[in-house]
Symmetry: C2
Subunit: 329 residues, 2 copies
């Protein structure tokens, strides 16, 4: 299917990824973007001026209500499910988290089936591999739960279930789908709900207040970030390609240590503070990774012709510029 002249439903679209995706799809000529979202978080600000574009329809709705999803999906060509409780909200309320991540995804697929949608995308996560290891991570890697904080393992397992529900709908009803496993997404419109993304936004907000950014542990752990604008392109290509019934890593090419990341945020913020090293926070959720962690994205390149285009330094520069204009949102 082509994005041009199409109608796309984005569930959970009043969000970091949703805002970049909406911009990207409109640039590619989409006729209509329908955003279904409870508008309960910082949704309006994440979308900014896009929310008032004539081609954007904002629908207040909840992924737990099938009837609203069916109405929103009617006549759409494609749909994306971005709605999820990430690890930190999952730690606080696993009741709602499991509802949204598992039953919500099932509702989403059911609405797509009922409404005759041609292709869906599911925003999965590198959390389907678990945490605590380093090295090269290909799409076939299994889910590690040992020593992972329960909220992280619940989140990862909920995404495994979301992916398998796609396979079930493909096998049983022929619904075309692509699962996109994002690594840690960051960019303008960043929120505070993704544990690993906190390393950027929290560091910058501390620096903006004149406080040193905090590194938990020794700073050697490696993380992978992918710019939200690049993620939006991957989603567009996944719709436009004939790819179906598969999962693809959508990750950045650069792996950084926590220490390198803090130094980069300090430099881009123009600060001469030094990062402060502290032990793990009691009650916090830290998702440990080993050295040289790399979510291999060769398959996305082969299948979709996608690769991350935005260097980490460029993307963080944009995030900081946005944050300066939108402090404390």
């Amino acid at each position: 299917m082509k994005i041009e002249n199409s109608t796309i439903l984005i569930v959970g679209g009043a969000s970091l990824v949703g805002s970049h995706m909406t911009r990207e799809f409109l640039q590619r000529g989409a006729a209509e973007i329908r955003i279904l979202d409870p508008l309960a978080f910082d949704g309006k600000s994440a979308l900014g001026a896009l929310a008032t574009d004539d081609r954007v329809q904002m629908i207040s709705g909840d992924i737990m209500r099938l009837s609203g999803l069916v109405d929103a999906a009617r006549g759409a060509d494609g749909a994306v499910n971005l709605a999820a409780y990430m690890t930190l909200p999952m730690a606080r309320d696993p009741w709602s988290g499991i509802d949204v991540n598992v039953r919500g995804q099932q509702n989403f697929l059911e609405a797509a089936r009922i409404s005759g949608i041609r292709k869906v995308l599911f925003a999965s996560s590198s959390a389907v591999y678990g945490y605590g290891f380093g090295g090269d991570v290909h799409e076939d890697r299994p889910l590690v739960t040992k020593d992972v904080p329960p909220a992280g393992a619940l989140y990862g397992a909920s995404k495994v279930m979301g992916e398998q529900l796609c396979r079930y709908y493909h096998g049983r009803y022929g619904l075309d789908y692509v699962v996109l496993r994002y690594s840690t997404v960051y960019g303008e419109g960043q929120h505070y709900r993704a544990a690993n993304a906190l390393y950027i936004i929290e560091a910058y907000d501390r620096i903006a207040r004149g406080e040193a950014p905090v590194i938990r542990g020794d700073g050697a752990e490696s993380k992978n970030f992918v710019y939200a604008g690049d993620v939006a392109v991957a989603n567009a290509l996944a719709f436009e390609s004939p790819a179906t019934d598969m999962a693809l890593n959508i990750s950045g090419d650069e792996t950084v240590s926590l220490k390198q990341l803090a130094d980069m945020v300090l430099r881009l913020a123009g600060s001469d503070l030094e990062p402060e090293f502290r032990p793990d926070e009691a009650g916090g959720v830290r998702l440990p990774s080993g050295d040289a962690l790399r979510y291999v994205n060769d398959r996305a390149k082969t299948i979709l012709g996608w690769q991350p285009e935005t260097p980490l330094e460029t993307g963080i520069g944009r995030l900081i510029a946005w944050r300066r204009e939108n402090p404390g949102e």
Copy 2:
């Protein structure tokens, strides 16, 4: 805690494992066994005469109703959650399956917390490792989903979530728990709901009708069965040991190929038929395993002093004798 003089709630207890567990706990001097079950499957027959024992209280209830669970848990010392949709029912109705396996387990733990239960056991499964491999499987092994039928991967991931919910309740509320990962349980009271258990009961039922047992594929795949009476002992020991916050493999010591298994059922049934080899059934759910699959149960021996005592041939002999008395249930 001691089983003697205790009150134990068994959710989903009107079942294969529940009937053997009830018998075992009563033999160890339990004062009261409360069985909460929707009594919707073949529950009454699985419990047999046990259902009318003075010390057994049958409670018709649904793990999806928190209030009924809280009532049933009041004043109990320990509780076990056996309620689950296995792979075959999950394939037919993933809506109810996800409800029962994930939200049901959350309700179970919440009821235990509210009612001040001291220790809970969760009936997990070797499905938390996935399918398609052979070799030695230790408790730390991650979940493989690649090429696993979606219902099998959903079932496995739902058990991962159930285990992580135990960890969450332990970490947040101090609830003691042991996760027991059963391999394929078989024994008197066998039902038709576990994909791998079908290899025994379906083969016998065909033989009893004068038909050859059917082997899907070449018969070289290896399976692991554990006798329900041995599983019941493992649960008793898990309550009585100080073990908490861990998962243990509860599996048989013998690994058999599908061919060996069919031959054994034929021999024990006194039949001179030969097994019939057929390709995989369209629409069926087959859970592939590699050669020499072994769920290593050393940890259960070290921690609980448990090991499987019943040779496969003995257990299958008992299952056949029971089935002769209870055909077609």
